[in-house]
Amino acid sequence: MAAITLIEAVNKAMAYEMGVDEEVVILGEDVGANGGVFRATDGLQQKFGDKRVIDTPLAESMIAGVSIGMAAQGMKPVAEIQFMGFIFPAVDQIICHAARMRNRTRGRIHLPMVIRAPFGGGIHAPEHHSESTEAIFAHIPGLKVVIPSNPSRAYGLMLAAIRDPDPVIFLEPKRVYRIEKHEIEDNGEEYPLGMCFVDREGTDITLISWGAMLHETKQAAEKLAAEGISAEVIDVATVSPLDIDTILESVEKTGRACIVQEAPKAGALGSEIAAEIAEKGVMNLLAPIGRVSGYDTVMPYYRLEKQYMPKVEHIVEEAKRIVEYR
């Protein structure tokens, strides 16, 4: 068993599934000889050939649209969009076709496809390479949106995404691509989609996050513990469809909730989670729900990036405010 990073786990999961299911193919820009700009597909073309690991022309709408056609024929395309900021030419295909095909054909055609994209800030990348726009896709019925926060989850969730009979948008928090390693047995065992993970048990407040921000959230829980506040930490993992039950159960226990997200605050996933808690769990709340978010502004270029990103101390501060609320 080898200790591997999140990006290596993505690679391993795709390799595993390509090994056992010949319908699985990879396509995207620079996924072949180059192994992807982050090396997510490193070595896969050598291993599986250029018929199954396809360097496409530079056209995202084509990548998504072609994936739809292939998936309709029972293949399982795993398409890479080089950065989430470049998914927008493909949005027409994803929203107007991928998300709706099963519904509008009343199940006659379904699309077992995955669209992967690295996303999020914090690595000093150029313009358009750092946004967190998961809410755009989470808003669309018919899509599943999955965001792994660590190597094990990347491995298990990627396998589930490829095997899922419906389109899955698989968003990889690139800031944590290589910050930690997990021992992973490459046995093809998946983690189910549509399920939150409780990463830390606590009694005073529930901290809810996903992706890279989970790391700050866990550190905040650590700090809070040192101050005598017991925080439960939930990794949402599948941001759509949302496993609200796990969140509500936790909030029932702690009576307090704080959502932590890198994305801008308005109309984001945190808004949906807060609304669900308010709708279904308001009677369990001892304090108003809190949110730690990015600002409602354009993601700045990297010199100001640090000023934009939510930080551990912001989470600690907000959690304390909620816990101390009377």
Binding site: D30, V37, P57, L58, P89, P126, T297, L304
Partner: protein, 358 residues
């Protein structure tokens, strides 16, 4: 069966890799003026020096990801020098050569890639668009600018640049189509540097040329030797003249070679075939123009030394200006979001300022 349409693509080259005029055509007027040729040479060398400097800054942590234009200087300097100050440039990310020709300051280019929006606030090139990173999107902006010029009856034109890989995007075809049907004064320059990161032309297109993509839009096109600045500039001047006078759009495909990594974040040894660089360096645009100048006894080793020193100083001044530009206040994240910041966001601005002050 009868043939209902036919097309051919012309190729323009004046100067070979030895700096010798090979074309049977008479060289354009500007090429017969040695001072003009010298200044083109200097301008290409400036881009080479700037790119090298930016690379070095990136390697020492003082610059973000940077896309050099090494080996492609003739493309940007060539068409940039065909623009007048009333024309508008809509660049792509590897467009520093044309941008600087058209009045964007070097320190603005450095600020942009150094992660500061003020690098898009051009002091001189007031109407030029900032760099477009989402590939091919910029071509439609160029069409819109040209539409405005046309509606107002102005004798100006728009230049826009794109890589050969970018011509696979839908926006590329949409822009050409609308420019063709509306007869817009746009010059579309394709920098065919033969790579789209790791993807070579063989798997980018089934066309023999990128220029011919214009045919389907009913647009005039030409392919030029992108290492021959005389050819690039001549084709650009003709196209610009036509565009300014209501003659409509042109596509110019410039064949160059990316003699550098895609960006500082890339490692081309993973995919570039052996020998390509050695061959490429023999054909590159700066060397051949120097050979030409030397053959005319218009350039000496001493001139070269003197110029290099001047360029190094010029670039260093820009680098100093860039590095001495203090990081903006966190408030800058908000101050140009809208003409007027909504109240709700104003509160976030205050919060950012308070947090930033800690």
């Amino acid at each position: 069966m009868t043939t209902v349409a036919k097309f051919e693509i012309n190729y323009l080259q004046f100067m070979d890799e030895n700096g010798t005029f090979i074309s049977k055509q008479v060289p354009p007027q500007f090429a017969q003026d040695i001072d003009t040729v010298k200044s083109l040479y200097r301008d290409m060398c400036l881009i080479r020096v700037l790119d090298q400097k930016a690379y070095a800054l990136q390697r020492t942590g003082k610059m973000g990801t940077y896309p050099a234009a090494t080996g492609q200087e003739a493309v940007g300097v060539g068409f940039g020098s065909a623009m007048t100050k009333d024309d508008v440039l809509v660049p792509y990310y590897r467009g520093q050569a044309a941008m600087i020709q058209h009045g964007v300051l070097m320190e603005e280019v450095l600020l942009y890639w150094g992660g500061d929006e003020r690098g898009c606030d051009y002091k001189v090139a007031k109407q030029d668009f900032p760099i477009a990173v989402p590939i091919a999107t910029q071509l439609l902006h160029a069409a819109g600018i040209a539409k405005a010029m046309q509606m107002r009856g102005e004798k100006r034109c728009v230049f826009t640049e794109i890589g050969e890989g970018g011509t696979s995007e839908g926006d590329f075809y949409e822009a050409l189509n609308v420019a063709g049907i509306w007869n817009l004064g746009v010059v579309f320059v394709i920098n065919n540097n033969q790579w789209a990161i790791s993807v070579p032309s063989e798997i980018q297109t089934n066309c023999e040329t990128y220029a011919q993509k214009a045919i389907a839009a009913g647009i005039e096109c030409i392919q030029v030797d992108g290492n021959d600045i005389i050819a690039v500039k001549e084709a650009s001047e003709k196209a610009a003249e036509k565009a300014r006078n209501g003659g409509g759009p042109t596509v110019i495909e410039c064949i160059s070679l990316r003699l550098c990594d895609h960006t500082t974040a890339d490692d081309a040894t993973r995919y570039r075939p052996e020998g390509e660089l050695d061959e490429g360096w023999k054909k590159e645009p700066i060397l051949r123009l120097r050979k030409y100048l030397e053959s005319k006894k218009a350039w000496s080793e001493a001139d070269e030394e003197k110029m290099k020193k001047e360029l190094a100083e010029e670039v260093q001044t820009a680098v100093d200006n860039y590095l001495n530009t203090a990081v903006d206040s966190p408030a800058a994240m908000f101050d140009n979001l809208y003409a007027e910041l909504p109240e709700r966001t104003l509160a976030q601005r205050e919060l950012a300022l308070a947090r930033g002050a800690k």
